[in-house]
């Protein structure tokens, strides 16, 4: 004690007191609040609070078209049984809430935050179950086989989305979007729930391993460099033909114009 009081007018004394008090408060708080806050890596389970919050968000953003009970109306389908995965896909890609009617809802910047999205997803899932949001491990591209994914993608996806997922046209103004921005989770959820015109590939048809392989293929291929130069959109011979005419032939015509131009003397007039 004498040791402390002898130094009560030390320049650092004040700082020492504050630091001591902070440590005391921290220790006391930690002791008081307990140990039930373990961070979970799996998808959040829908607690009651979350469902209530989700219902409120739903009522604000979705009920106008989908009905207050999500039962569907003339302009939008019922969401009963679609599952959290469908909601997560639609909302996180910004397709929902849809802004204007059209043949298809395009991807746009999402309106709801991640937390809100999960809340709404939880609410909808609480109505009648349905496919759940996949775990991070289920969609991990590094864990999938790109070669198997290539074969699966070509067999099941390329006819709409094109060889590498550059997108393609469907009927009546619909289209299969390019997969350049889709996250691994969104790709999984799309396969699982079959949004809009896309067919449904449930987990017993394309197993979760298969889906992960496809995700690995899509993610790795879209980031794969193009060794031959600019990719021209990876669309195929259409763009190549355009480049042949508007690039190569035009270049050659310009060269021909230069080589054969009359040199020197300007004409008297045009």
């Amino acid at each position: 004690m004498r040791w402390i009081t002898a130094r009560r007018r030390h320049p650092a004394a004040g700082y020492a007191i504050v630091a001591l008090m902070l440590v005391a408060i921290a220790v006391g708080y930690a002791a008081l609040t307990g140990a039930d806050s373990s961070a979970s890596a799996s998808a959040p389970s829908a607690g009651q609070q979350q469902i209530a919050k989700g219902q409120e968000i739903f009522a604000r953003n979705c009920a106008t078209c989908h009905g207050l009970e999500a039962q569907g109306t003339a302009v939008a389908p019922s969401l009963i049984g679609v599952g959290a995965a469908a909601v997560d896909f639609q909302v996180s890609t910004g397709r929902m809430p849809a802004k204007e009617p059209g043949p298809e809802n395009p991807r746009k910047p999402p309106e709801l935050s991640t937390a809100e999205t999960l809340d709404v997803a939880g609410y909808v899932a609480s109505l009648a179950g349905g496919p759940a949001i996949p775990s991070a491990e289920a969609v991990n591209p590094a864990a999938g086989s790109v070669a198997v994914g290539q074969q699966l993608f070509i067999a099941n996806c390329a006819q709409c989305h094109n060889f590498v997922g550059a997108g393609g046209a469907l009927t009546y103004g619909k289209y299969a979007p390019a997969l350049t921005q889709a996250t691994p989770t969104q790709i999984y959820e799309a396969m699982l729930t079959g949004p809009e015109a896309m067919p449904v590939f449930n987990d017993t048809t394309l197993t979760p391993e298969n889906k992960r392989d496809i995700i690995a293929y899509v993610v790795q291929t879209r980031s794969e460099p193009n060794p031959g130069g600019f990719s021209l959109g990876r669309v195929g011979p259409v763009t190549e033909g355009l480049v042949a005419f508007l690039g190569l032939l035009l270049f050659m015509v310009l060269a021909a114009l230069w080589i054969t131009a009359k040199q020197g003397k300007p004409e008297e007039h045009e």
Binding site: N162, F163, G228, A244, F245, L248, V253
Partner: protein, 609 residues
Amino acid sequence: MAIDRALEGVGGFLDDRFRGAKGFRTLFKKIFPDHWTFLLGEIALYSFIILLLTGTFLTFWFQPSMTQVVYHGSYTHLDGVRMSEAYASTLHISFDVRGGLLMRQIHHWAADLFMAAIFAHMLRIFFTGAYRKPREVNWLIGIVLLTLGMLEGLFGYSLPDDLLSGAGLRILEGVIQSIPVVGTYLAFFLFGGAFPGNDIIPRLYILHVLLIPGLILALITAHLFIMFHQKHTQMPGKGRTDQNVVGAPMYPYFMAKTGAFFFFTFAALALASTFAQINPVWLYGPYTPVAMSAGSQPDFYMGMLEGALRVMVPWEWNVAGHTFSFNVFVPALLPLGVIFTGAALWPFIEQWITGDKREHHVNDRPRNAPTRTAIGIAVITFYGVLWLEGANDVIADHLDIALYTTTRIAQVSMFVAPVVAYILTKRICLGLQRKDQHLIEHGVETGIIRQLPSGEFIEVTHPLSEEERAKLGSITPPPSLPAPDSADHNGIPAPGSHGAIGKVRARLNSILTESIEVTGSNGHGNGHGGPGTDGNGHAPGEHEHAAVPAGAVPAGAVPAGGSQEASLGAGEAGSSSDDGGGSGDGAGHDGSGDEDSGYRDSGYDGTDN
């Protein structure tokens, strides 16, 4: 003198054995006319040479075999995947052979440029009338080269056996199969059995590296030799007639220019192959008959056939146990067949219609053959509509047009658009001709305004230079056939125009030769003004325009209307167009208006016919 010593040495050695002095001298002094459009064929020629060079490189590594192997090469994304040896060897060339990808890309870009250049060159020949006598055979050789080029390209890009080109082969097989009577047999013979079989890639290989290139090489040689022998055509201009060639000699000018152009071609292809990826077969994956990709198209020169297949209505007949698949073999054979046959026959059809059997070595400016140009543009429009339809799903996706709508638009446009294009083009050409005639008569506007003593303001014009006048006014109209109903005073119809066919011929002739007469003569009234003016809307005594040099007739112009008048005789045909400039106009003016005013007192009576 180093040159003299070299000539004595090597030159003497060769000449002692081959007597080349005179021949080479003639060759070296050969004159080549200069116009940028004359280089379009060279693009094709040099692309072909580059195709031969890069193709030979590729043959050292490519395996034309459909035997299935499991891939374990450098492209790890396909590790463990089953594929044909052809596909695997293409991956090997792309990823394991240094320069392999570059050579593959140059080869493919050169093929695209070869075809694009052939189209451009063919159109230039058509629109300038360079296919006329004596060059009809060369035109036919050119059409055969175009067809061979299309086949060569189709077979070439099918060799890697990837998903995209394999789908094209499947479509080819389906089309062949649909041919009545012999279709299934032809398909089975070509593929060595059912599709896909094991034989198609090796067979296409030998067609692609030996047979067709040999044919193309031989035909190109013939094509060039004929061009050398007949001398190249030239664009109209001062001093250029059907009896001469004006330009620069082969040695050293043309050799240098063509050499430079070869380097440009190679440079363009090298640039494209460095910065623009083409045919990335590793992204398409190996061929499997069970899968397909959206946005599958053939290379652009096959695009018209693809579009024809897409635009066709679902028409099929089942008669007595046999099926006529009109929905398949009609689009495959009819549109392109009509265009190629029409193109091949065109020089002869035109000769029959116009009766023009003269040699032609001076090109037409397209505007001076309005109907021919309009027909050409109409055919291009028809081809273009079907070509765009071949890419309709890509267009629908990227331009946000509904998919079926693109097909409906094409189904209507393919008939309507060529007609519209014909009408528009013809009117544009006639308008340009009138403008040319206006320039010749009145000179070029200078923008300088001058006030006359009488108070009137006029714009000073500057007469055209000799070169310009020669270029504009040097058309030689073909001899017109008489009008369908014309006959001499004994009632005997003019030759070539009797009978039903003769009437058709005469009618077609008046359509084909419809054109504004653009000559260097000054005495042409053109319908301006009414009473109190001369035939051209000016009060007598005025010179509105600056003086036109007296007696100025362009060097290259045939005296206007000479042969026309002879065949017209007394029967003034009713086939002249408005404005007094039609071919039926008996204008015998040859620059007789050699006063300052140019056209006041040329003897023209101020009335139109």
